[in-house]
């Protein structure tokens, strides 16, 4: 119990590594998904209205001006505005690359909510860019041009977590987006918004409002922001595969802790039997095993949390990992709970220990 510090320490470290793995995966998943969906997640509209044919995909969606107006007339809508969205080849920092341009009505729904530096665009030709891409030619004061055109956009602000499909993002005025889209694709007929962005009136639940819009406006499908983010193509698949890996990691933690303590318990059966013969109750013995399980898993959670903190310190700017204390706490609680569940086998074994085992019968039949 007290003596085998090394073994318990090693187990705590092993559990710690697994906890770290779990935490790291979850953090990774958050970062990764943020790269895919950040722009939609961190903009101000409560409800996103797609064309009903678009299958919740911005790239395939167009809404008409009539639909936009009809959405604005729905009860509970405080404000409505267009969203023009598309991927364009841009020249930033002297290099060509793809970027997502998001055009919204300045001051209306759809402005980025995670501004970390600078300001929001106030006129056409200004943009808020994703902060993570600042060094790649998207810093405040940088000018980004649309490849093959004269259209230039000046970055005036940076916001965190607003990448989209792992591309740099430029939040611009709707008119600027029209300029960009028109210049990049001169043959296109009329330019229509990709979606309508809606601000819900105070006290109106976005999900309910989205349902109402879908029901009352012809040819559209409205989703509240969270649902819209979760419905983006690929998000669910990524979530599912990560969930599977997580599940596996949790199962491994449970098995490792469970087997370790079962082995330890079986090894200690003679001693535990002796203690029982000397007057320890099953409850006392089980409690001591339970305490050890808790101590080891708490140690593991601590190690895992520290590793994650270390990783977040060491992580690079282009792929930031942030240690979220709430994540560490919930994961830690889950690991602790599972560890206790996993030790049920050991605890039951302890409860069944026979005190007379200590009495020993090895002298029977003259055997020594």
């Amino acid at each position: 119990m007290r003596r085998a510090k090394l073994r318990f320490g090693m187990l705590a470290c092993a559990v710690g590594l697994l906890v770290f793995l779990i935490l790291f995966q979850q953090t990774l998943l958050g970062t990764l998904l943020g790269y895919f969906t950040g722009a939609l997640e961190n903009q101000s509209a409560d409800v996103v209205v797609y064309n009903e044919e678009a299958r919740q995909n911005l790239a395939g969606s167009l809404v008409t001006i009539d639909q936009l107006e009809a959405v604005g007339a729905v009860d509970g809508v405080a404000a409505v505005g267009p969203l023009g969205q598309g991927t364009f080849t841009v020249v930033a920092g002297g290099e060509e690359r793809d970027a997502a341009v998001w055009g919204y009505r300045l001051g209306g729904p759809g402005e980025p909510t995670t501004l970390v530096e600078g300001r929001l665009p106030e006129t056409d030709g200004e943009a808020v860019a994703s902060a993570i891409d600042a060094a790649a030619g998207f810093d405040i004061g940088d000018e980004v041009t649309i490849a093959g055109t004269e259209v230039a956009i000046t970055v005036v602000g940076l916001a965190s977590d607003i990448r989209f499909s792992v591309q740099p993002v430029l939040f611009v005025s709707y008119e600027t987006w029209q300029d960009v889209a028109g210049a990049a694709n001169p043959d296109a007929p009329v330019l229509l918004p990709s979606a309508a962005l809606v601000q819900a009136a105070g006290g109106v639940a976005p999900a309910a409002l989205a349902e109402r819009i879908t029901a009352s406006v012809e040819g559209v499908e409205a989703l509240d922001r969270a649902t819209a983010v979760a419905s983006l193509p690929g998000v669910e698949a990524v979530n599912q595969s990560f969930a599977l890996i997580l599940l596996l990691a949790f199962v491994v933690v449970t098995l490792v802790v469970g087997f370790f303590f079962l082995i330890i318990t079986v090894q200690k059966l003679p001693s535990l039997g002796l203690l029982k013969a000397l007057g320890y109750s099953s409850a006392q013995l089980a409690w001591s095993v339970g305490l050890q399980v808790l101590a080891v898993s708490a140690g593991g959670v601590l190690v895992g949390g520290l590793l994650l903190a270390g990783a977040s310190l060491a992580s690079s700017e282009s792929f930031p990992i942030s240690a979220d204390p709430a994540l560490v706490l919930t994961t830690g609680a889950a690991v602790l709970g599972l560890a206790v569940v996993s030790s049920i086998g050991s605890l039951r074994r302890v409860a069944r220990i026979d005190a007379t085992a200590a009495v020993g019968r090895q002298h029977l039949g003259g055997l020594e």
Partner: protein, 223 residues
């Protein structure tokens, strides 16, 4: 008041379909500071008798009164408590917790009785000293010799100031000289505390240390 009074105790074990009678109509009275040697061949029921006297086993029939308390009817919880407070055991097989030092092996019983920690430590040190083990207090059982281990076990049995000390074959793993030393130690420790004791042995040379000797064959006591 006698330390132990067994009346018509019978103990049978079920092994498969057959029944083994390990103890049959055993009656025994032990004075409150008497040392009794229980002698008999292997399989004669010595360990069974000790286990019943110490509340480790419940008899199939008969009554067992220890220090005025009838224990044959106690439930498991009360028996656990009885063992903890009233009896000191030196077992035949496993005696020490291998991952605790000699001193901790003594304290492990005290922790149970929730004695004041300081007093318990003082008592443990005094016992180790009496047993000539003060410089081995921090050693693990694996680092001790057979005789030393047996002495630690004796200290452990005396730790909670029991009214009844039960010792099962303390010398069987030791050579004659060491065995005699250990026997002498047990009897002098027990005598100096005016405590009752049963010492089981199959070695008749050891019986002169006891006040009285009883023989057991096939579960039957012969005075």
């Amino acid at each position: 008041m006698p330390a132990l009074e067994m009346t018509d105790v019978r103990k049978t074990y079920r092994s498969g379909d057959s029944e083994v009678v390990a103890l049959d109509h055993a009656s025994l009275t032990l004075g409150d500071d008497e040392i009794l040697a229980l002698v008999g061949p292997s399989g004669s029921g010595k360990t069974t008798l000790l286990s019943i006297a110490g509340g480790l086993l419940t008899p199939t029939e008969g009554s067992v009164v220890v220090g005025g308390e009838e224990i044959s009817a106690l439930d498991a919880k009360r028996l656990t408590r009885f063992r903890r407070e009233r009896v000191g055991f030196v077992f035949q097989a496993v005696n020490l917790v291998p991952f605790l030092t000699a001193r901790e092996n003594l304290l492990v019983v005290a922790e149970l009785g929730r004695r004041d920690g300081r007093a318990a430590r003082r008592r443990a040190d005094a016992l180790l000293d009496e047993l000539g083990l003060s410089d081995r207090a921090g050693s693990l059982p694996a680092q001790l010799s057979g005789g030393e281990r047996q002495r630690v076990a004796i200290g452990r049995a005396l730790m909670n100031e029991p009214a009844l000390v039960l010792v099962d074959e303390p010398t069987s793993a030791l050579d004659t000289k060491l065995g005699e030393q250990v026997m002498e130690l047990i009897t002098s420790e027990v005598k100096s505390r005016s405590t009752a004791a049963i010492i089981v042995t199959h070695d008749t040379r050891m019986t002169h240390y006891a006040d009285r000797t009883i023989e057991i064959t096939d579960g039957v006591l012969v005075a």
